[in-house]
Symmetry: C2
C-alpha cells in the first residue's frame, strides 16, 4: 500500500528494491544478484525507502483517509445489496447500479498502483 501510494517519490533504486522485496517476494540475495549491488546495499535501500514512505504517510495521512473511504464504500455497497433484495423494477435496478459503481471505484484503486 505504501509503495502503491508513495513509491514514485522514492529514488529509482529504493523503489526497485522495495518492489522486488515486497511485491515480487524476492530475497535480499536474489535482489542483490538481479541488480548487481551488494546484499547490504539492497537492505539499505529497502530500509531507507520504507522509512521515507512511512514518514510521508505520518505527515499526510493519505492512506489512512483512503482506507476510511474504502470501508465506507463497502458499507454503501452492502446497503445497496439490501435494497436490491427488497425491491424490484426501477429501484432494484438503481440499487444494482450503485453496487457496480462501488465495484468500479474499488477496481480503479487496484489498477492504479505503481
Amino acid at each position: 500500500m505504501l509503495l502503491d501510494f508513495y513509491g514514485e517519490l522514492l529514488t529509482d533504486k529504493q523503489r526497485e528494491c522495495c518492489d522486488l522485496h515486497y511485491n515480487e517476494d524476492l530475497s535480499l540475495s536474489e535482489i542483490a544478484e538481479q541488480l548487481g549491488i551488494s546484499r547490504q546495499g539492497v537492505w539499505d535501500n529497502i530500509r531507507r525507502g520504507e522509512s521515507a514512505m512511512q514518514e510521508i504517510e505520518e505527515k499526510t495521512g493519505l492512506i489512512r483517509r483512503f482506507e476510511r473511504t474504502r470501508r465506507a464504500l463497502g458499507l454503501i455497497a452492502e446497503r445497496a445489496r439490501e435494497i436490491a433484495a427488497q425491491t424490484e423494477g426501477r429501484p432494484q435496478e438503481i440499487a444494482r447500479q450503485i453496487m457496480s459503481e462501488v465495484e468500479r471505484i474499488e477496481e480503479w484503486d487496484l489498477n492504479d498502483g505503481v
Copy 2:
C-alpha cells in the same frame, strides 16, 4: 487542494507562505510583513512550494484519483436519492442511509485538511 494533500511535505516556511497566500488570500507584502522576510523571499517560497507539490502530484496522481472517487460518490448519492423518492419503508430508509454515508465521507475530506 495541493496544500491540503501535500502541504505537510513542504518546509515550514513554504507551507506558511502558500497557506497565507492561497487560503488566507494575503498579498505578498502582507505576508512579508507578517513573517518578517522580504517580499522576494515570500515569492520564492510560494513558487518552490507550489512546484514541489505539483511534482508530487504528477508522480503520485493521488489528487486525480481522489477527485475521480469524489465524482463517483456524487453519482452514488444521486442514485440513492432516486431510490428514496421511488420507495417507502425499509428500502427508502436504507437509501437515506446511503445518502448520509456519502455526506459523511465528503465531510471527512473537508475537515482533514492542513
